[in-house]
C-alpha cells in the first residue's frame, strides 16, 4: 500500500504513514484553524488502510502542541485504528511527551480512557 506523507508547517504536523510497514508517525504541531480540512485526507487514507491492514500497526504520536480543534480529529484517527484492533489485529499507540509536560501526558491519558487500543506513555528528556 502507498504511504501517506505530508510535510509539516508552523501550524500543521508532519504525517508519515508507512502503509507497507504499518508504522505511522504524527509529529510537530497541530494547531490549524480548521483541522477538519487538514485531517480529511488522513482519515480517507486510513479508510483504505483498515480494509487491508498489516498484521501489526504501530502509531507514534510526538506532538509538541495540538489545539482542541485537532483533538477530535486525532480521536477520529484512533477510532479508525480501533476498528482493526477490535478485529484482532495488533495495534499499539506510543504517546511521547517531554519531561515535565504534564498537560501532554494528560492529553494522552484522555485518549487512553476513550480508546481501547493499548497506549504506551513515553517520557522524553
Amino acid at each position: 500500500m502507498n504511504s501517506l506523507i505530508i510535510e509539516g508547517s508552523p501550524k500543521t504536523p508532519n504525517i508519515n504513514f508507512d502503509g507497507d510497514e504499518g508504522s505511522f508517525l504524527i509529529s510537530g504541531r497541530s494547531i490549524p484553524e480548521n483541522s477538519l480540512d487538514f485531517y480529511k485526507p488522513i482519515i480517507e487514507w486510513l479508510d483504505t488502510y483498515i480494509s487491508e491492514p498489516k498484521e501489526a500497526t504501530i502509531v507514534n504520536i510526538r506532538l509538541e502542541y495540538f489545539n482542541t480543534s485537532s483533538s477530535k480529529c486525532l480521536l477520529d484517527v484512533f477510532k479508525k485504528l480501533e476498528v482493526i484492533f477490535k478485529r484482532g489485529q495488533k495495534v499499539g499507540i506510543n504517546w511521547y511527551y517531554e519531561a515535565d509536560d504534564e498537560d501532554m501526558l494528560e492529553a494522552g491519558e484522555d485518549y487512553q480512557s476513550i480508546i481501547k487500543i493499548p497506549f504506551t506513555m513515553i517520557e522524553e528528556e
Binding site: E33, N67, S69, S71, L75, D103, M104, I114
Partner: protein, 179 residues
C-alpha cells in the same frame, strides 16, 4: 454611555503589557500573533513548562477570536473577524486578555458556559473535557465548547469576564485568563 473600545484598550496597555494587538483576525493574523508572542516568550527565556501553558491557552483564545469575533455594523472595515489580544506580565503571573464583539443574543450561552466551567474542580474539568471530546460533534467553527474547558484546565484558574454594551446589536466580551 456606550462602551469606548479605544479607551478600554489604551487603559489595558500599561507597562505590564508585553504584547498587544487590536484588529483583523484572519488566518494570517492568527499565525502572525502566535509567532510574535512565541518570539517574545523565547526572548524572555521563559521556562518550557510555563511557555507551553501560555502558548496552549493563547492558541485557543486567538482561534476563538478568529471563529467568533464579530465586526459591529458601524466599523468601516472590509474584513469580517475582529479581536483584541493583550499579554501582560504582572510579575508573579501572566494575564492574557482576549476581547471580541458578540451579537447580543449570544450573551446567555457564553456567560452560562463560562460560569459553569468556573464552578468545576480540576477533576470535574477533566471529566467534562473527556465527555465533550468523546460525544460532541465538532464543526468548522469550533469544538463544542472544548476550547473554553481546555483553557480552564491548562491555566488551572477561573476565567474572568466582562460584557460591555456597545450598541443595540453588539456586546463587547473581554475574557481574562491568568497563568
Amino acid at each position: 454611555m456606550n462602551f469606548d473600545l479605544n479607551q478600554w484598550y489604551s487603559e489595558k496597555i500599561d507597562e505590564d503589557a508585553i504584547f498587544d494587538y487590536m484588529g483583523r483576525i484572519e488566518d494570517v493574523d492568527v499565525t502572525d500573533i502566535l509567532q510574535s508572542i512565541e518570539q517574545i516568550l523565547k526572548d524572555r527565556n521563559e521556562s518550557p513548562k510555563l511557555f507551553k501553558k501560555i502558548f496552549n491557552v493563547l492558541v485557543e483564545l486567538v482561534q476563538n477570536l478568529h471563529h467568533h469575533g464579530e465586526v459591529p455594523f458601524d466599523f468601516d472595515v472590509s474584513y469580517e473577524k475582529f479581536g483584541v489580544l493583550i499579554l501582560r506580565d504582572e510579575g508573579t503571573q501572566y494575564r492574557i486578555c482576549a476581547g471580541n464583539f458578540i451579537k447580543i443574543d449570544g450573551l446567555r450561552l457564553i456567560r452560562d458556559r463560562i460560569d459553569q466551567i468556573n464552578t468545576l474542580s480540576s477533576t470535574e474539568t477533566q471529566s467534562l473535557y473527556r465527555i465533550i471530546l468523546e460525544n460532541e460533534q465538532f464543526s468548522e467553527k469550533g469544538g463544542g465548547g472544548l476550547g473554553m474547558v481546555d483553557i480552564a484546565r491548562k491555566s488551572g484558574n477561573n476565567m474572568e469576564y466582562q460584557f460591555f454594551e456597545y450598541d443595540p446589536n453588539f456586546l463587547f466580551l473581554a475574557i481574562d485568563v491568568i497563568i
